[in-house]
Protein backbone atom coordinates (compact mmCIF):
# COMPACT_ATOMS: atom_id res chain seq x y z
CA UNK A 1 0.00 0.00 0.00
CA UNK A 2 1.47 3.26 -1.10
CA UNK A 3 -0.81 5.87 0.34
CA UNK A 4 -3.62 5.67 2.83
CA UNK A 5 -6.93 6.55 1.28
CA UNK A 6 -9.79 5.43 3.50
CA UNK A 7 -12.41 5.99 0.80
CA UNK A 8 -10.53 3.83 -1.69
CA UNK A 9 -10.09 1.09 0.89
CA UNK A 10 -13.82 1.20 1.52
CA UNK A 11 -14.53 1.06 -2.21
CA UNK A 12 -12.19 -1.92 -2.59
CA UNK A 13 -14.01 -3.95 0.01
CA UNK A 14 -17.38 -2.89 -1.38
CA UNK A 15 -16.38 -4.12 -4.85
CA UNK A 16 -15.15 -7.42 -3.44
CA UNK A 17 -18.25 -7.98 -1.34
CA UNK A 18 -20.50 -7.30 -4.32
CA UNK A 19 -18.36 -9.68 -6.38
CA UNK A 20 -18.66 -12.42 -3.76
CA UNK A 21 -22.43 -11.90 -3.61
CA UNK A 22 -22.72 -12.23 -7.39
CA UNK A 23 -20.69 -15.42 -7.29
CA UNK A 24 -22.37 -17.00 -4.26
CA UNK A 25 -26.00 -15.92 -4.64
CA UNK A 26 -27.14 -18.37 -7.37
CA UNK A 27 -25.80 -21.28 -5.34
CA UNK A 28 -27.31 -19.94 -2.11
CA UNK A 29 -30.67 -19.77 -3.84
CA UNK A 30 -30.28 -23.35 -5.07
CA UNK A 31 -29.43 -24.47 -1.55
CA UNK A 32 -32.47 -22.68 -0.13
CA UNK A 33 -34.71 -24.25 -2.76
CA UNK A 34 -33.36 -27.69 -1.88
CA UNK A 35 -34.52 -27.33 1.73
CA UNK A 36 -38.21 -26.71 1.05
CA UNK A 37 -41.20 -28.95 0.44
CA UNK A 38 -42.67 -29.29 -3.05
CA UNK A 39 -45.69 -27.13 -2.19
CA UNK A 40 -43.58 -24.07 -1.38
CA UNK A 41 -42.96 -23.37 -5.06
CA UNK A 42 -46.63 -22.98 -5.94
CA UNK A 43 -46.96 -19.56 -4.36
CA UNK A 44 -45.26 -17.71 -7.14
CA UNK A 45 -41.89 -16.75 -5.71
CA UNK A 46 -38.87 -18.69 -4.58
CA UNK A 47 -38.37 -18.63 -0.81
CA UNK A 48 -35.24 -16.78 0.27
CA UNK A 49 -34.59 -18.45 3.62
CA UNK A 50 -33.86 -22.14 4.22
CA UNK A 51 -36.82 -24.36 4.99
CA UNK A 52 -37.20 -27.42 7.22
CA UNK A 53 -37.09 -30.22 4.63
CA UNK A 54 -33.38 -30.42 3.94
CA UNK A 55 -32.65 -33.88 5.36
CA UNK A 56 -35.65 -35.59 3.79
CA UNK A 57 -35.10 -34.02 0.35
CA UNK A 58 -31.47 -35.04 0.25
CA UNK A 59 -32.02 -38.55 1.54
CA UNK A 60 -34.90 -39.01 -0.90
CA UNK A 61 -32.70 -38.02 -3.84
CA UNK A 62 -29.73 -40.07 -2.66
CA UNK A 63 -31.68 -43.25 -2.02
CA UNK A 64 -34.64 -43.22 -4.38
CA UNK A 65 -34.43 -40.51 -7.00
CA UNK A 66 -37.21 -39.44 -9.32
CA UNK A 67 -37.93 -42.60 -11.26
CA UNK A 68 -40.55 -40.91 -13.47
CA UNK A 69 -37.77 -38.80 -14.96
CA UNK A 70 -35.85 -41.97 -15.77
CA UNK A 71 -33.02 -41.15 -13.41
CA UNK A 72 -31.59 -43.57 -10.86
CA UNK A 73 -30.87 -42.60 -7.25
CA UNK A 74 -28.21 -39.93 -6.93
CA UNK A 75 -25.92 -42.19 -4.94
CA UNK A 76 -25.43 -44.36 -8.05
CA UNK A 77 -24.84 -41.36 -10.29
CA UNK A 78 -22.42 -39.79 -7.81
CA UNK A 79 -20.48 -43.03 -7.70
CA UNK A 80 -20.35 -43.17 -11.51
CA UNK A 81 -19.10 -39.59 -11.62
CA UNK A 82 -16.46 -40.36 -9.04
CA UNK A 83 -15.26 -43.42 -10.95
CA UNK A 84 -15.21 -41.48 -14.20
CA UNK A 85 -13.42 -38.41 -12.79
CA UNK A 86 -10.75 -40.39 -10.94
CA UNK A 87 -10.15 -42.78 -13.82
CA UNK A 88 -9.84 -39.93 -16.32
CA UNK A 89 -7.44 -38.01 -14.07
CA UNK A 90 -5.27 -41.04 -13.28
CA UNK A 91 -5.38 -42.30 -16.87
CA UNK A 92 -4.38 -38.95 -18.34
CA UNK A 93 -1.54 -38.58 -15.87
CA UNK A 94 -0.16 -42.07 -16.51
CA UNK A 95 -0.21 -41.99 -20.30
CA UNK A 96 1.03 -38.39 -20.40
CA UNK A 97 3.94 -38.85 -18.05
CA UNK A 98 5.04 -41.95 -20.00
CA UNK A 99 4.90 -40.21 -23.36
CA UNK A 100 6.64 -37.09 -22.04
CA UNK A 101 9.37 -39.35 -20.65
CA UNK A 102 9.79 -41.01 -24.05
CA UNK A 103 9.93 -37.68 -25.88
CA UNK A 104 12.43 -36.00 -23.57
CA UNK A 105 14.80 -38.79 -22.55
CA UNK A 106 15.09 -40.81 -25.75
CA UNK A 107 16.00 -40.11 -29.34
CA UNK A 108 14.26 -42.27 -31.89
CA UNK A 109 12.89 -42.03 -35.42
CA UNK A 110 9.48 -40.32 -35.68
CA UNK A 111 9.91 -38.53 -32.36
CA UNK A 112 8.67 -35.29 -33.89
CA UNK A 113 5.76 -37.05 -35.53
CA UNK A 114 4.67 -38.52 -32.20
CA UNK A 115 4.91 -35.09 -30.61
CA UNK A 116 2.73 -33.53 -33.31
CA UNK A 117 0.11 -36.27 -33.15
CA UNK A 118 -0.24 -35.61 -29.43
CA UNK A 119 -0.29 -31.86 -30.07
CA UNK A 120 -3.17 -32.19 -32.52
CA UNK A 121 -5.55 -33.46 -29.82
CA UNK A 122 -5.60 -29.87 -28.52
CA UNK A 123 -7.29 -28.84 -31.72
CA UNK A 124 -10.01 -31.49 -31.78
CA UNK A 125 -12.38 -30.96 -28.85
CA UNK A 126 -15.13 -33.57 -28.66
CA UNK A 127 -17.70 -30.90 -29.46
CA UNK A 128 -16.54 -30.64 -33.06
CA UNK A 129 -16.36 -34.37 -33.84
CA UNK A 130 -19.44 -35.62 -32.05
CA UNK A 131 -20.93 -37.93 -34.65
CA UNK A 132 -17.83 -39.82 -35.90
CA UNK A 133 -16.42 -40.28 -32.38
CA UNK A 134 -19.75 -41.68 -31.26
CA UNK A 135 -19.64 -44.09 -34.20
CA UNK A 136 -16.16 -45.33 -33.30
CA UNK A 137 -17.20 -45.99 -29.72
CA UNK A 138 -20.40 -47.70 -30.89
CA UNK A 139 -18.45 -49.91 -33.32
CA UNK A 140 -16.08 -50.94 -30.55
CA UNK A 141 -19.08 -51.94 -28.42
CA UNK A 142 -18.18 -49.46 -25.71
CA UNK A 143 -21.55 -47.74 -25.32
CA UNK A 144 -22.99 -47.98 -21.83
CA UNK A 145 -19.78 -49.01 -20.14
CA UNK A 146 -17.11 -47.42 -17.97
CA UNK A 147 -14.39 -47.84 -20.62
CA UNK A 148 -16.63 -45.99 -23.09
CA UNK A 149 -17.04 -43.12 -20.66
CA UNK A 150 -13.37 -42.94 -19.78
CA UNK A 151 -10.94 -44.08 -22.48
CA UNK A 152 -11.94 -41.70 -25.29
CA UNK A 153 -11.24 -38.76 -22.97
CA UNK A 154 -7.86 -39.73 -21.56
CA UNK A 155 -5.56 -38.48 -24.32
CA UNK A 156 -4.02 -35.27 -23.08
CA UNK A 157 -1.75 -32.86 -24.85
CA UNK A 158 -1.69 -30.33 -22.01
CA UNK A 159 -0.58 -32.88 -19.42
CA UNK A 160 2.09 -34.18 -21.79
CA UNK A 161 3.41 -30.65 -22.36
CA UNK A 162 3.43 -29.92 -18.65
CA UNK A 163 5.52 -32.99 -17.90
CA UNK A 164 7.77 -32.30 -20.88
CA UNK A 165 8.47 -28.76 -19.63
CA UNK A 166 9.19 -30.08 -16.18
CA UNK A 167 11.47 -32.89 -17.41
CA UNK A 168 13.50 -30.40 -19.43
CA UNK A 169 14.32 -28.55 -16.21
CA UNK A 170 15.61 -31.71 -14.48
CA UNK A 171 19.42 -31.42 -14.43
CA UNK A 172 21.25 -33.74 -16.85
CA UNK A 173 23.67 -34.64 -14.07
CA UNK A 174 20.98 -36.55 -12.23
CA UNK A 175 20.50 -38.87 -15.12
CA UNK A 176 24.23 -39.23 -15.77
CA UNK A 177 24.78 -40.10 -12.13
CA UNK A 178 21.99 -42.65 -12.25
CA UNK A 179 23.48 -44.25 -15.35
CA UNK A 180 26.95 -44.36 -13.86
CA UNK A 181 25.44 -46.18 -10.89
CA UNK A 182 23.94 -48.66 -13.31
CA UNK A 183 20.29 -47.65 -13.27
CA UNK A 184 18.29 -48.52 -16.37
CA UNK A 185 15.69 -46.20 -17.87
CA UNK A 186 12.73 -47.59 -15.93
CA UNK A 187 14.59 -47.57 -12.65
CA UNK A 188 15.60 -43.95 -13.23
CA UNK A 189 11.97 -43.11 -14.05
CA UNK A 190 10.57 -44.83 -10.98
CA UNK A 191 13.14 -43.86 -8.38
CA UNK A 192 14.16 -40.38 -9.47
CA UNK A 193 11.79 -38.77 -11.95
CA UNK A 194 8.52 -39.87 -10.37
CA UNK A 195 9.35 -38.59 -6.87
CA UNK A 196 10.54 -35.29 -8.37
CA UNK A 197 7.25 -34.89 -10.25
CA UNK A 198 5.10 -35.38 -7.17
CA UNK A 199 3.84 -31.79 -6.86
CA UNK A 200 3.17 -31.54 -10.56
CA UNK A 201 1.20 -34.77 -10.48
CA UNK A 202 -0.87 -33.59 -7.55
CA UNK A 203 -1.63 -30.21 -9.14
CA UNK A 204 -2.54 -31.87 -12.40
CA UNK A 205 -4.75 -34.37 -10.62
CA UNK A 206 -6.85 -31.57 -9.13
CA UNK A 207 -7.42 -29.94 -12.52
CA UNK A 208 -8.10 -33.21 -14.33
CA UNK A 209 -10.44 -34.48 -11.64
CA UNK A 210 -12.57 -31.39 -12.18
CA UNK A 211 -12.32 -31.85 -15.94
CA UNK A 212 -13.59 -35.40 -15.64
CA UNK A 213 -16.34 -34.54 -13.19
CA UNK A 214 -17.90 -31.75 -15.26
CA UNK A 215 -18.05 -33.73 -18.52
CA UNK A 216 -21.55 -33.48 -19.91
CA UNK A 217 -21.79 -33.98 -23.66
CA UNK A 218 -19.77 -37.19 -23.73
CA UNK A 219 -21.74 -39.11 -21.06
CA UNK A 220 -24.92 -37.81 -22.69
CA UNK A 221 -23.90 -39.43 -25.97
CA UNK A 222 -22.57 -42.78 -24.81
CA UNK A 223 -24.96 -43.73 -22.01
CA UNK A 224 -28.57 -44.69 -22.52
CA UNK A 225 -28.61 -47.18 -19.66
CA UNK A 226 -29.40 -45.32 -16.46
CA UNK A 227 -26.95 -47.48 -14.48
CA UNK A 228 -24.11 -45.57 -16.16
CA UNK A 229 -25.49 -42.04 -15.83
CA UNK A 230 -23.16 -39.54 -14.29
CA UNK A 231 -24.61 -36.99 -11.92
CA UNK A 232 -23.91 -33.97 -14.13
CA UNK A 233 -25.88 -35.40 -17.05
CA UNK A 234 -28.51 -37.00 -14.80
CA UNK A 235 -29.49 -33.60 -13.44
CA UNK A 236 -30.47 -32.48 -16.89
CA UNK A 237 -32.93 -35.41 -17.10
CA UNK A 238 -34.43 -34.40 -13.75
CA UNK A 239 -34.86 -30.79 -14.81
CA UNK A 240 -36.35 -31.58 -18.19
CA UNK A 241 -39.46 -33.48 -17.19
CA UNK A 242 -41.63 -32.87 -20.25
CA UNK A 243 -43.76 -29.71 -20.00
CA UNK A 244 -44.41 -29.90 -16.30
CA UNK A 245 -42.57 -27.58 -13.95
CA UNK A 246 -39.69 -29.54 -12.44
CA UNK A 247 -39.81 -30.50 -8.78
CA UNK A 248 -37.47 -27.71 -7.85
CA UNK A 249 -36.63 -28.87 -4.36
CA UNK A 250 -35.40 -32.25 -5.62
CA UNK A 251 -33.64 -30.84 -8.68
CA UNK A 252 -31.77 -28.32 -6.53
CA UNK A 253 -30.79 -30.97 -3.99
CA UNK A 254 -29.26 -32.87 -6.91
CA UNK A 255 -27.55 -29.69 -8.14
CA UNK A 256 -25.95 -29.07 -4.76
CA UNK A 257 -24.76 -32.65 -4.46
CA UNK A 258 -23.34 -32.58 -7.98
CA UNK A 259 -21.37 -29.40 -7.27
CA UNK A 260 -20.08 -30.34 -3.88
CA UNK A 261 -17.22 -32.79 -4.64
CA UNK A 262 -15.29 -30.70 -7.22
CA UNK A 263 -15.94 -27.44 -5.36
CA UNK A 264 -14.60 -28.99 -2.15
CA UNK A 265 -11.54 -30.14 -4.05
CA UNK A 266 -10.90 -26.57 -5.23
CA UNK A 267 -11.42 -25.04 -1.80
CA UNK A 268 -9.42 -27.59 0.16
CA UNK A 269 -6.56 -27.84 -2.33
CA UNK A 270 -6.54 -24.24 -3.47
CA UNK A 271 -2.77 -23.96 -3.71
CA UNK A 272 -2.45 -27.05 -5.89
CA UNK A 273 -5.47 -25.98 -7.91
CA UNK A 274 -4.00 -22.56 -8.73
CA UNK A 275 -0.64 -24.10 -9.57
CA UNK A 276 -2.25 -26.69 -11.82
CA UNK A 277 -4.44 -24.17 -13.60
CA UNK A 278 -1.69 -21.65 -14.26
CA UNK A 279 0.89 -24.23 -15.32
CA UNK A 280 -1.28 -26.26 -17.68
CA UNK A 281 -2.18 -23.14 -19.62
CA UNK A 282 1.40 -22.00 -20.23
Amino acid sequence: MIENRPFLAFLTHLVLIIGVIIVVFPVYLAFVASTHGSGDFMRGLVPLLPGPHMIENYSFMLNEGISTAGAPPLSIMLLNSLVMAIAIAVGKIIISILSAYAIVFFKFPFRMLAFWIIFITLMLPVEVRIVPTFKVVADLGMLNSYPGLIIPLIASATATFLFRQFFLTVPDELMEAARVDGAGPMKFFRDILLPLSRTNIAALFVILFIYGWVQYLWPLLVTTDSRYYTVVMGIKRLAATADAEPQWNFVMAAVILAMLPPVLVVILMQRLFVKGLVETEK
Binding site: V20, I95, A102, I117, L124, D172, L217, V232, V265, E281
Partner: protein
Amino acid sequence: MQAKRTIFPNKILPYMLLVPQLAVTLIFFIWPALQAVKSSFELADSWGFQTTFVWFENYRRLFVDPNYFASVGKTAIFAFSVTALSMSLSLILAVAVNRVLRTNRLYTTLLVWPYAVAPVVVGILWWFMFNPTIGIASYLLRAAGVDWNHRMDGNDAMILVIIAASWKQISYNFLFFVAGLQSVPQSLIEAAAIDGAGPFKRFWTIVFPLLSPTTFFLLIVNMNYAMFDTFGIIDATTQGGPAQATNTLVYKVYTDGFLGQNIGSSSAQSVVLMIVVIALTAIQFRYVERRVQY
Protein backbone atom coordinates in the same frame (compact mmCIF):
# COMPACT_ATOMS: atom_id res chain seq x y z
CA MET B 1 12.98 -29.89 -30.77
CA GLN B 2 14.62 -29.81 -27.40
CA ALA B 3 15.84 -33.00 -25.80
CA LYS B 4 18.35 -33.98 -23.18
CA ARG B 5 22.08 -33.76 -23.82
CA THR B 6 22.46 -37.33 -22.68
CA ILE B 7 19.81 -39.85 -23.50
CA PHE B 8 19.05 -43.50 -22.91
CA PRO B 9 20.16 -45.74 -25.78
CA ASN B 10 17.08 -48.01 -25.84
CA LYS B 11 15.49 -48.48 -29.24
CA ILE B 12 12.17 -50.17 -28.50
CA LEU B 13 11.31 -48.77 -25.08
CA PRO B 14 10.32 -45.23 -26.18
CA TYR B 15 7.75 -46.63 -28.58
CA MET B 16 6.31 -48.81 -25.84
CA LEU B 17 6.01 -45.73 -23.62
CA LEU B 18 4.21 -43.82 -26.34
CA VAL B 19 1.81 -46.58 -27.37
CA PRO B 20 -1.05 -45.87 -24.92
CA GLN B 21 -1.20 -42.14 -25.65
CA LEU B 22 -0.85 -42.57 -29.39
CA ALA B 23 -3.41 -45.38 -29.54
CA VAL B 24 -6.06 -43.31 -27.77
CA THR B 25 -5.22 -40.30 -29.89
CA LEU B 26 -5.37 -42.16 -33.18
CA ILE B 27 -8.54 -44.14 -32.42
CA PHE B 28 -10.60 -41.46 -30.72
CA PHE B 29 -9.24 -38.21 -32.13
CA ILE B 30 -7.51 -38.48 -35.48
CA TRP B 31 -9.64 -41.24 -37.01
CA PRO B 32 -13.00 -39.58 -36.15
CA ALA B 33 -11.67 -36.25 -37.38
CA LEU B 34 -10.71 -37.83 -40.70
CA GLN B 35 -14.14 -39.46 -40.84
CA ALA B 36 -15.72 -36.05 -40.33
CA VAL B 37 -13.67 -34.63 -43.18
CA LYS B 38 -14.60 -37.60 -45.38
CA SER B 39 -18.33 -37.44 -44.71
CA SER B 40 -18.33 -33.69 -45.20
CA PHE B 41 -17.74 -34.49 -48.90
CA GLU B 42 -20.52 -37.07 -49.03
CA LEU B 43 -24.28 -37.04 -49.24
CA ALA B 44 -26.24 -39.93 -47.69
CA ASP B 45 -29.56 -41.07 -49.15
CA SER B 46 -32.60 -40.89 -46.93
CA TRP B 47 -32.15 -44.41 -45.53
CA GLY B 48 -28.47 -43.99 -44.88
CA PHE B 49 -27.53 -47.07 -46.94
CA GLN B 50 -25.61 -45.33 -49.65
CA THR B 51 -23.39 -42.33 -49.75
CA THR B 52 -22.28 -40.49 -52.84
CA PHE B 53 -19.22 -38.34 -53.17
CA VAL B 54 -20.36 -34.80 -53.86
CA TRP B 55 -17.21 -32.65 -53.56
CA PHE B 56 -18.01 -29.36 -51.88
CA GLU B 57 -21.78 -29.61 -52.16
CA ASN B 58 -22.29 -29.75 -48.37
CA TYR B 59 -20.08 -26.69 -47.90
CA ARG B 60 -21.80 -24.86 -50.72
CA ARG B 61 -25.21 -25.50 -49.16
CA LEU B 62 -23.88 -24.48 -45.77
CA PHE B 63 -22.54 -21.17 -47.02
CA VAL B 64 -25.81 -20.20 -48.69
CA ASP B 65 -27.93 -21.30 -45.73
CA PRO B 66 -29.32 -18.25 -43.91
CA ASN B 67 -29.75 -20.35 -40.77
CA TYR B 68 -26.02 -21.03 -40.69
CA PHE B 69 -25.17 -17.36 -41.04
CA ALA B 70 -27.65 -16.53 -38.32
CA SER B 71 -25.83 -19.04 -36.13
CA VAL B 72 -22.43 -17.51 -36.97
CA GLY B 73 -23.81 -14.12 -35.98
CA LYS B 74 -25.30 -15.41 -32.73
CA THR B 75 -22.03 -17.14 -31.86
CA ALA B 76 -20.06 -13.95 -32.49
CA ILE B 77 -22.39 -11.85 -30.32
CA PHE B 78 -22.32 -14.50 -27.62
CA ALA B 79 -18.54 -14.96 -27.63
CA PHE B 80 -17.75 -11.22 -27.63
CA SER B 81 -20.26 -10.46 -24.91
CA VAL B 82 -19.12 -13.28 -22.64
CA THR B 83 -15.46 -12.34 -23.11
CA ALA B 84 -16.06 -8.63 -22.47
CA LEU B 85 -18.39 -9.05 -19.52
CA SER B 86 -16.45 -11.77 -17.77
CA MET B 87 -13.01 -10.23 -18.30
CA SER B 88 -14.01 -6.75 -17.15
CA LEU B 89 -15.68 -8.03 -13.98
CA SER B 90 -12.69 -10.26 -13.23
CA LEU B 91 -10.21 -7.44 -13.79
CA ILE B 92 -12.08 -5.19 -11.36
CA LEU B 93 -12.16 -7.95 -8.76
CA ALA B 94 -8.50 -8.85 -9.30
CA VAL B 95 -7.39 -5.22 -8.88
CA ALA B 96 -9.47 -5.01 -5.71
CA VAL B 97 -8.02 -8.23 -4.26
CA ASN B 98 -4.54 -7.01 -5.09
CA ARG B 99 -5.15 -3.93 -2.93
CA VAL B 100 -6.28 -5.70 0.23
CA LEU B 101 -3.64 -7.26 2.42
CA ARG B 102 -5.06 -9.26 5.27
CA THR B 103 -8.24 -10.66 3.71
CA ASN B 104 -7.08 -11.48 0.19
CA ARG B 105 -6.88 -15.24 0.81
CA LEU B 106 -10.47 -15.28 2.03
CA TYR B 107 -11.79 -13.26 -0.91
CA THR B 108 -9.83 -15.38 -3.38
CA THR B 109 -11.29 -18.59 -1.96
CA LEU B 110 -14.80 -17.18 -2.16
CA LEU B 111 -14.30 -16.11 -5.78
CA VAL B 112 -12.52 -19.06 -7.41
CA TRP B 113 -14.73 -22.09 -6.77
CA PRO B 114 -17.19 -21.59 -9.69
CA TYR B 115 -14.40 -22.99 -11.88
CA ALA B 116 -15.38 -26.42 -10.58
CA VAL B 117 -19.09 -26.09 -11.33
CA ALA B 118 -20.15 -27.99 -14.45
CA PRO B 119 -21.48 -25.78 -17.28
CA VAL B 120 -24.79 -27.62 -17.33
CA VAL B 121 -25.20 -27.02 -13.60
CA VAL B 122 -24.41 -23.33 -14.13
CA GLY B 123 -27.14 -23.31 -16.76
CA ILE B 124 -29.66 -24.81 -14.35
CA LEU B 125 -28.78 -22.33 -11.59
CA TRP B 126 -29.43 -19.32 -13.81
CA TRP B 127 -32.40 -20.92 -15.50
CA PHE B 128 -33.91 -21.26 -12.03
CA MET B 129 -33.23 -17.61 -11.18
CA PHE B 130 -34.73 -16.35 -14.42
CA ASN B 131 -37.61 -18.81 -14.53
CA PRO B 132 -40.61 -16.75 -15.72
CA THR B 133 -42.99 -18.15 -13.12
CA ILE B 134 -40.97 -18.51 -9.92
CA GLY B 135 -37.50 -17.06 -10.60
CA ILE B 136 -36.32 -14.27 -8.36
CA ALA B 137 -34.56 -12.35 -11.13
CA SER B 138 -37.60 -12.36 -13.41
CA TYR B 139 -39.75 -11.33 -10.44
CA LEU B 140 -37.51 -8.31 -9.77
CA LEU B 141 -37.45 -7.48 -13.48
CA ARG B 142 -41.24 -7.59 -13.60
CA ALA B 143 -41.37 -5.26 -10.61
CA ALA B 144 -39.10 -2.91 -12.58
CA GLY B 145 -41.44 -3.07 -15.55
CA VAL B 146 -39.53 -5.53 -17.73
CA ASP B 147 -41.57 -8.43 -19.04
CA TRP B 148 -38.91 -11.15 -18.92
CA ASN B 149 -39.56 -14.35 -20.79
CA HIS B 150 -36.58 -16.18 -22.26
CA ARG B 151 -38.87 -18.92 -23.57
CA MET B 152 -40.51 -16.53 -26.00
CA ASP B 153 -38.09 -13.65 -26.50
CA GLY B 154 -34.83 -14.34 -28.34
CA ASN B 155 -33.01 -11.37 -26.83
CA ASP B 156 -33.92 -12.40 -23.30
CA ALA B 157 -32.66 -15.89 -24.04
CA MET B 158 -29.36 -14.54 -25.38
CA ILE B 159 -28.90 -12.31 -22.33
CA LEU B 160 -29.56 -15.29 -20.07
CA VAL B 161 -26.92 -17.52 -21.67
CA ILE B 162 -24.42 -14.64 -21.74
CA ILE B 163 -24.87 -13.99 -18.02
CA ALA B 164 -24.63 -17.66 -17.12
CA ALA B 165 -21.54 -18.26 -19.27
CA SER B 166 -19.81 -15.13 -17.96
CA TRP B 167 -20.52 -16.06 -14.34
CA LYS B 168 -18.75 -19.38 -14.74
CA GLN B 169 -15.68 -17.83 -16.36
CA ILE B 170 -15.13 -15.07 -13.76
CA SER B 171 -13.08 -17.32 -11.49
CA TYR B 172 -10.69 -18.40 -14.23
CA ASN B 173 -10.03 -14.88 -15.50
CA PHE B 174 -9.73 -13.61 -11.95
CA LEU B 175 -6.91 -16.05 -11.12
CA PHE B 176 -4.93 -15.14 -14.21
CA PHE B 177 -5.38 -11.42 -13.66
CA VAL B 178 -4.25 -11.75 -10.05
CA ALA B 179 -1.14 -13.63 -11.21
CA GLY B 180 -0.54 -10.92 -13.82
CA LEU B 181 -0.95 -8.10 -11.31
CA GLN B 182 1.49 -9.69 -8.92
CA SER B 183 4.19 -9.67 -11.57
CA VAL B 184 3.93 -5.90 -12.10
CA PRO B 185 7.08 -4.45 -10.45
CA GLN B 186 6.22 -2.56 -7.28
CA SER B 187 9.08 -0.10 -7.89
CA LEU B 188 7.38 1.29 -11.02
CA ILE B 189 4.20 1.95 -9.10
CA GLU B 190 6.08 3.59 -6.25
CA ALA B 191 8.03 5.79 -8.67
CA ALA B 192 4.78 6.94 -10.27
CA ALA B 193 3.31 7.63 -6.86
CA ILE B 194 6.30 9.78 -5.94
CA ASP B 195 5.79 11.72 -9.17
CA GLY B 196 2.27 12.44 -8.00
CA ALA B 197 0.15 9.97 -9.99
CA GLY B 198 -3.02 8.90 -8.20
CA PRO B 199 -4.27 5.31 -8.02
CA PHE B 200 -6.46 5.51 -11.14
CA LYS B 201 -3.80 7.21 -13.22
CA ARG B 202 -1.25 4.62 -12.08
CA PHE B 203 -3.59 1.84 -13.11
CA TRP B 204 -4.25 3.14 -16.61
CA THR B 205 -0.73 4.28 -17.45
CA ILE B 206 1.36 1.55 -15.79
CA VAL B 207 -0.52 -1.50 -14.57
CA PHE B 208 -2.95 -1.97 -17.43
CA PRO B 209 -0.33 -1.76 -20.22
CA LEU B 210 1.93 -4.18 -18.34
CA LEU B 211 -0.98 -6.58 -18.04
CA SER B 212 -1.45 -6.72 -21.80
CA PRO B 213 0.17 -10.18 -22.25
CA THR B 214 -2.28 -11.62 -19.70
CA THR B 215 -5.19 -9.76 -21.25
CA PHE B 216 -4.36 -11.00 -24.71
CA PHE B 217 -3.95 -14.57 -23.53
CA LEU B 218 -7.30 -14.41 -21.74
CA LEU B 219 -8.99 -12.94 -24.81
CA ILE B 220 -8.10 -16.03 -26.82
CA VAL B 221 -8.93 -18.46 -24.04
CA ASN B 222 -12.30 -16.80 -23.43
CA MET B 223 -13.26 -16.85 -27.08
CA ASN B 224 -12.36 -20.51 -27.14
CA TYR B 225 -14.38 -21.12 -23.98
CA ALA B 226 -17.45 -19.25 -25.21
CA MET B 227 -17.47 -21.10 -28.51
CA PHE B 228 -16.70 -24.65 -27.40
CA ASP B 229 -17.23 -25.13 -23.67
CA THR B 230 -20.69 -23.65 -23.29
CA PHE B 231 -22.63 -26.54 -24.75
CA GLY B 232 -23.95 -27.55 -21.32
CA ILE B 233 -25.07 -24.03 -20.45
CA ILE B 234 -27.09 -23.70 -23.64
CA ASP B 235 -28.49 -27.20 -23.38
CA ALA B 236 -29.71 -26.55 -19.84
CA THR B 237 -31.20 -23.11 -20.42
CA THR B 238 -32.51 -22.51 -23.93
CA GLN B 239 -31.57 -25.52 -26.09
CA GLY B 240 -30.73 -23.16 -28.90
CA GLY B 241 -34.14 -21.54 -28.90
CA PRO B 242 -36.44 -19.76 -29.03
CA ALA B 243 -36.50 -19.79 -32.83
CA GLN B 244 -32.72 -20.47 -33.03
CA ALA B 245 -31.93 -17.30 -31.09
CA THR B 246 -29.16 -18.99 -29.08
CA ASN B 247 -28.17 -21.72 -31.52
CA THR B 248 -24.38 -21.38 -31.43
CA LEU B 249 -22.20 -23.21 -33.94
CA VAL B 250 -21.27 -26.05 -31.59
CA TYR B 251 -24.85 -26.55 -30.52
CA LYS B 252 -25.90 -26.64 -34.15
CA VAL B 253 -23.39 -29.40 -34.94
CA TYR B 254 -25.02 -31.46 -32.21
CA THR B 255 -28.64 -30.76 -33.18
CA ASP B 256 -28.08 -31.23 -36.92
CA GLY B 257 -25.84 -34.25 -36.66
CA PHE B 258 -26.95 -36.14 -33.61
CA LEU B 259 -30.61 -35.27 -33.33
CA GLY B 260 -31.37 -34.37 -36.95
CA GLN B 261 -29.14 -37.10 -38.46
CA ASN B 262 -28.04 -34.72 -41.21
CA ILE B 263 -24.53 -36.17 -41.24
CA GLY B 264 -23.17 -34.42 -44.33
CA SER B 265 -24.04 -30.93 -43.19
CA SER B 266 -23.03 -31.62 -39.60
CA SER B 267 -19.63 -32.91 -40.74
CA ALA B 268 -19.06 -29.85 -42.91
CA GLN B 269 -19.86 -27.69 -39.88
CA SER B 270 -17.44 -29.77 -37.78
CA VAL B 271 -14.67 -29.20 -40.29
CA VAL B 272 -15.29 -25.45 -40.28
CA LEU B 273 -15.11 -25.49 -36.48
CA MET B 274 -11.89 -27.50 -36.51
CA ILE B 275 -10.36 -24.79 -38.67
CA VAL B 276 -11.49 -22.19 -36.13
CA VAL B 277 -9.93 -24.12 -33.24
CA ILE B 278 -6.72 -24.61 -35.18
CA ALA B 279 -6.55 -20.87 -35.83
CA LEU B 280 -7.19 -20.00 -32.19
CA THR B 281 -4.63 -22.54 -30.96
CA ALA B 282 -2.03 -21.29 -33.43
CA ILE B 283 -2.52 -17.70 -32.26
CA GLN B 284 -2.27 -18.80 -28.64
CA PHE B 285 0.96 -20.74 -29.19
CA ARG B 286 2.67 -18.07 -31.28
CA TYR B 287 1.92 -15.64 -28.52
CA VAL B 288 3.17 -17.99 -25.80
CA GLU B 289 6.47 -18.34 -27.64
CA ARG B 290 6.77 -14.56 -27.74
CA ARG B 291 6.09 -14.26 -24.05
CA VAL B 292 8.80 -16.77 -23.20
CA GLN B 293 11.40 -14.55 -24.88
CA TYR B 294 10.61 -11.54 -22.69
